[in-house]
């Protein structure tokens, strides 16, 4: 799965992620943390969408459920360390339930069913004031501590989130390298063939949703503690669509796609701030151009270059052969 060059690039990136943030201002650290949280959520979505090929447009609902579980539990006086597993397990179970429509409907219908689910969750968040605080949300959510080490500081919390991202990244990598991972891709590439080869299509479809949802739940829990405030706005259908966009832009079905995709979705709009009121306009145009340039996502670029180089050398070989023959 990883070449030597890939390993080197990975180590360099990791070193940068560890070394750069201490030199950044508060807002920079905040953005890095925000990015890492989206990486976690989008890794989950990449499993559902990119590997298992299930069109899910309701990922922000799980993200929100995770955030609200932690917020509500911490408000009630429980520890973050209770909220986090509740968020993960809760989202896993609800993800299983949301996966059921996927057994009946596919492609675009599934996308709309999950989108409907997202709207429903959002409506509950907005309207059930007694539980969620309605549009005012819940504020004053604390940050966790572990073995007496507090992660109150922004930089400390960043490393905390980064550690989560790395562990979850490793787990997903192991999962995908296992026979399970192969089953997921088989499901995406040809569900009927997968079924006839003995893959339990139902179980894997449900699992791809549930595991993806659990990742989003953990990401949401981390988000609640980062912003220390939850409200329904970041968990709308629009947010789900943005997450889908990030996964597809990064390269669905590429392991590291969510890293790049989240960077485009979270950091690019910030870099474009110089365009002031126009920055989202520029972002939208950039998304269109990126898709036109690399329809299979940013990470398909190396493959594209390799294919082009191969085509060129083949053409050269043909020319030589033609000359020798003629």
């Amino acid at each position: 799965m990883f070449t030597k060059r890939g390993l080197v690039i990975g180590v360099v990136c990791l070193a940068a992620l560890l070394a750069v943030p201490p030199f950044l201002k508060n807002y920079g650290v905040y953005l890095f943390t925000y990015w890492a949280i989206f990486v976690i959520a989008n890794m989950g979505l990449n499993l559902t969408v990119g590997y298992a090929g299930q069109k899910s447009l309701g990922h922000a609902a799980f993200f929100g459920l995770g955030a609200y579980s932690v917020a509500i539990l911490m408000k009630a006086g429980f520890s973050f360390w209770l909220g986090l597993p509740v968020a993960a397990v809760g989202c896993f179970v609800i993800g299983l339930a949301v996966g059921f429509p996927a057994l009946r409907v596919q492609t675009i219908y599934l996308a709309f069913a999950t989108l409907g689910f997202n709207t429903l969750v959002w409506l509950v968040m907005r309207n059930e004031q007694w539980l969620t605080g309605g549009t005012f949300g819940i504020n004053g959510i604390g940050r966790p501590a572990l073995f007496g080490v507090s992660f109150d500081g922004n930089l400390a919390y960043y490393y905390f989130v980064l550690a989560f991202a790395l562990v979850l990244c490793f787990l997903l990598w192991r999962l995908l390298a296992s026979p399970w991972g192969k089953a997921f891709t088989a499901l995406r590439d040809n569900p009927i063939r997968a079924e006839s080869l003995g893959v339990n299509v139902q179980a894997y479809t449900l699992l791809s949703f549930a595991i993806g949802a659990a990742y989003a739940g953990i990401a949401g829990a981390l988000l609640a503690s980062l912003v220390q405030f939850v409200e329904p706005v970041p968990f709308t259908v629009g947010a789900s669509i943005m997450m889908y966009l990030m996964v597809v832009l990064g390269g669905p079905g590429y392991f590291l796609g969510p890293l790049l995709g989240s960077a485009v979705g979270v950091l690019l709009p910030e870099w474009l701030r110089f365009a002031q009121g126009w920055y989202l306009f520029v972002f939208g145009i950039a998304v269109i151009l990126l898709m036109l340039w690399l329809p299979d996502g940013l990470l398909s670029l190396p493959e594209r270059i390799r294919a082009r180089r191969m085509a060129r050398s083949e053409a050269a070989a043909r020319a030589v052969a033609a000359q020798a023959g003629g």
Partner: protein, 291 residues
């Protein structure tokens, strides 16, 4: 009872606008397999183009005609050539994401370039009330419903009665056979895109007086159009009409009788039921899966 009828009628009026937007959406899907996530913005933009023409002193009717021309070029031709054509062969995901990007760009472009505030928009219909058997109805409601119905039925008639329309349907049903039969497929697909742009202009003309022209007006409109298209049946043009009316009426009644906060939930509920139990839509035909 009269309250109920009033709500029902204004629901029908709103729903018929959703139907117009949904119709364009299903046509695009049928003809080219394009899922347009910018469908709501395709209604929002013409509203602002009309306002632009009117600010130069053009009357509403002239602005509408000019806007139709601009929309066919911009939202029909440019959209097809610039985004759909190059991406179609890569499957559904890239087009979805590109149209999301387009929606973001259009929304924020209008916000930054024109205005972030809601703009008033003149109504085609005079501000008049009728009283029919104790039920008060506005001319705008009745007029909107009538115009939208005529539009949907005219589109239907065009698709099923004219040679061009039938050729467009042939392309939608089976592109390969249509090619073999000598139908100019790319041209028919372009016609569909043009038709979608025209329907969007009409929807803009009808919806904006009530909703006001605002950069984000397309967001909820687009979502409602999706719901309508799915409920009615994605593969059937008449489905869009039925779906639109169901969504419009149900949200109006829910707002009055259940709770305004859950206004959108009823349409959503119907939508979920349809998705789960009859995913091909109320009027749609089932598509068997292929190996």
């Amino acid at each position: 009872m009269s309250d109920f009828l009033q709500l029902f009628l204004s629901g029908l009026a709103t729903g018929s606008i959703y139907a117009v937007a949904a119709l364009g959406f299903t046509l695009l899907w049928q003809a080219s397999g394009t899922i347009n996530f910018a469908q709501g913005e395709f209604v929002m933009l013409p509203a602002f183009i009309m306002l632009g023409f009117m600010s130069f002193g053009a009357p509403l009717a002239l602005s509408f005609v000019l806007t139709c021309v601009v929309a066919v070029v911009l939202l029909g031709w440019c959209f097809k050539r610039g985004i759909v054509d190059p991406l179609l062969k890569f499957g559904m995901m890239p087009i979805i994401v590109a149209t999301i990007g387009l929606a973001i760009a259009m929304r924020s472009g209008i916000r930054a370039g024109v205005s972030a505030e809601a703009q008033p928009f003149p109504s085609v219909f005079a501000d008049k009330l009728f009283n029919i058997g104790g039920v008060t109805v506005t001319l705008a409601d009745v007029g909107t419903l009538a115009v939208a119905l005529v539009l949907v039925l005219a589109t239907q008639a065009f698709l099923s009665r004219t040679v061009t329309g039938r050729a467009m349907q042939a392309v939608a049903q089976n592109t390969d056979s249509a090619t073999v039969l000598g139908i100019d497929v790319p041209r028919m697909v372009f016609y569909t895109f043009a038709l979608n742009a025209l329907l969007a202009c009409a929807a803009a003309l009808l919806v904006t007086p009530a909703y006001l022209a605002k950069f984000d007006m397309g967001e909820s409109l687009g979502l409602k159009a999706f719901f309508a298209a799915i409920i009615g049946g994605f593969t059937n043009s008449r489905g869009a009409l039925l779906g639109g009316l169901i969504v419009g009426v149900s949200e109006n009644l829910a707002a009055a009788y259940i709770s305004p906060a859950y206004k959108d939930a009823v349409a959503l509920f119907i939508f979920m039921l349809v998705i789960l139990f009859k995913p091909e839509g109320l009027l749609g035909k089932k598509v068997e899966r292929k190996v």
